[in-house]
Amino acid sequence: MRQLPASGVSILDTEEALIRTPGVERNITSAPAPAQEAIRIPPEEAVFRLKDVGAWYGQKHALSDINLDIPLKRVTALIGPSGCGKSTLLRCLNRMNDLIPSARIEGRVEYHGANIYDRGVDPVEVRRRIGMVFQKPNPFPKSIYDNVAFGARVNGIKGNMDEIVERALHQAAIWDEVKNDLRKSGLALSGGQQQRLCIARALAVQPDVILMDEPCSALDPIATLKIEDLIRELTQDFTIVIVTHNMQQAARVSDYTAFLLAAEHGLNGHLIEYGPTTEIFTNPRDRRTEDYITGRFG
């Protein structure tokens, strides 16, 4: 576990560097906007460009003013205390929030230049390219084979299904453990294996991006390490965005980290700081980031 240096860190006083968005009323309890310097644009090609993205659940304003670029074939981590909106933000990236009737999104979420919330965009097309792994492993009550083949079948992916399934299970680093009986039920595996099965299931659809919502929080430390290794491997071919409440995990696994904070639980989540993981953890530019990372709150 990496220890963060206690002193010698230069901190910009963000209160004075505030840039307020004109015309929008801010109440005193909302978290102030991040300093420009606190949001760094990655030099790699951007897969996602979020522009002024906000999210509502009914009347509850969950996220506001998110401006962020997610780089290609890197791991980007979203961190922050509970209720800061990181899961909401993740789910904005593949239109999973559509499933919640009261959810509303504003702003632009550009995926390779195309706004996924444009009129006429089909969410099915979006989700084929942007896969998701959930916090609690959720394999279908079907065989291992049918779990992995499900997405491929539904999306009409051509090819030999046996090969597709085997390749996905290899990519998810679980082939050796299950190759002897693919007809076994997905539910008969251990927690860590189930999660890797879910990853294989997402991979079989041949996506471009994989979103992971706290994928290890329900797993034991050994399973967690296996999945973290897997994540690093997967960046050769995929872009990964991972939400985690475990800062050490973010530090271990990600290339870029975004830190979010909300005024109150579930209300007004803002992006405070975003940049290369090494910089965030050794030299954060916003005082609140430093406070969170050193454990003063959260």
Binding site: E45, Y111, G113, A114, D122, E125, R129
Partner: protein, 299 residues
């Protein structure tokens, strides 16, 4: 590598799948509405045919050769008395059984058999209960084809479903209520009587009312007991004595059946008027049950 602009509109394959999905919504909705439609048509047809005959006189008249004068008086009274016997006979037994199974019975193979037995009895055809009642109450206990025999037969028929409903209601009571009482030194019966039962009462009552509603509409079992008779008197009390329960009887559903199969066309209106009377009773009971369930819904 410059990024190519991505088209996220539905491709042909996806568009097809989405279209099928959207159309399926209307298919499923249509299917659902068919059931609703049947209910509506049924209600409309019955009311249209029977409204002319339905009146206070209809309820108070005896059957007659003349369709305009023929009424359902013996059936209504018979139903009331038979249900009275049913309720008195079945409620204590059903509640007692449910309490014993849920609270006191040891958890072993025997209890499983009791539960399976109850589930099966709930599904035994009503005509078989009719045969049972015929053999046991009418013949063996020599109650003859009477209100008492009919009421007891229906009691046996509705006990299983009432037990199952009462079991459900008792199970819904949170364990903390039971444990709290026991921790204070109460005996198990005391915790049941003072903590569990009062909270389970709404659910139990709902179950009882629905079971009685079921018994009110029962025809076949009571035909086997001998309820299909042409009666021109008031079955049952007064006079208020035990012999009154040994009167011959008929019930409303059987009278409806009689009018239905009557080949004389003019009696059809009597059948539908009888149905209106019966449905008013049944729906009132179901409504009361639904109201109780909603009002006391805590979980």
């Amino acid at each position: 590598m410059a990024s190519q602009p991505i088209i996220l509109r539905a491709s042909d394959a996806v568009a097809r799948r989405q279209l099928v999905s959207r159309l399926s919504r209307y298919l499923f909705l249509g299917s659902t509405l068919i059931g609703v439609c049947v209910l509506v048509v049924l209600a409309y047809d019955t009311i249209a045919t029977g409204a002319s005959r339905f009146s206070f006189d209809f309820i108070t008249n005896y059957p007659s050769r003349f369709s305009e004068k023929a009424g359902v008086r013996p059936g209504v009274l018979g139903t009331l008395w038979v249900l009275a016997v049913t309720v008195v006979a079945s409620i204590p037994v059903a509640i007692g059984t449910a309490i014993w199974i849920e609270e006191f019975a040891p958890r072993n193979r025997f209890i499983t058999i009791v539960k399976i037995n109850l589930a099966n009895l709930a599904g035994v055809p009503s005509i078989i209960y009719g045969i049972l009642g015929l053999a046991i109450f009418v013949r063996f206990y020599d109650m003859k084809q009477s209100i008492l025999a009919g009421g007891l037969t229906l009691a046996l028929m509705i006990i299983p479903m009432t037990v199952i409903a009462a079991q459900e209601a008792i199970r819904q009571v949170p364990p903390s209520l039971r444990d709290g009482a026991l921790a204070l030194g109460a005996t198990r019966w005391q915790s049941v009587r003072h903590n569990v039962l009062p909270n389970a009462i709404p659910g139990i009552m709902t179950g009882i009312i629905l079971a009685v509603s079921r018994a009110a509409g029962e025809t076949a079992a009571l035909i086997m007991i001998g309820g299909f008779t042409f009666i021109r008197f008031d079955p049952g009390p007064p006079p208020v004595n035990f012999d009154a329960l040994l009167d011959s009887f008929t019930v409303l559903p059987i009278q409806i059946y009689g009018y239905t199969i009557d080949s004389r066309r003019e009696f059809q209106a009597n059948a539908s008027a009888g149905i209106i009377v019966l449905m008013i009773g049944v729906m009132t009971l179901n409504l009361i049950a639904a109201v109780i369930r909603e009002r006391f819904r805590r979980y």
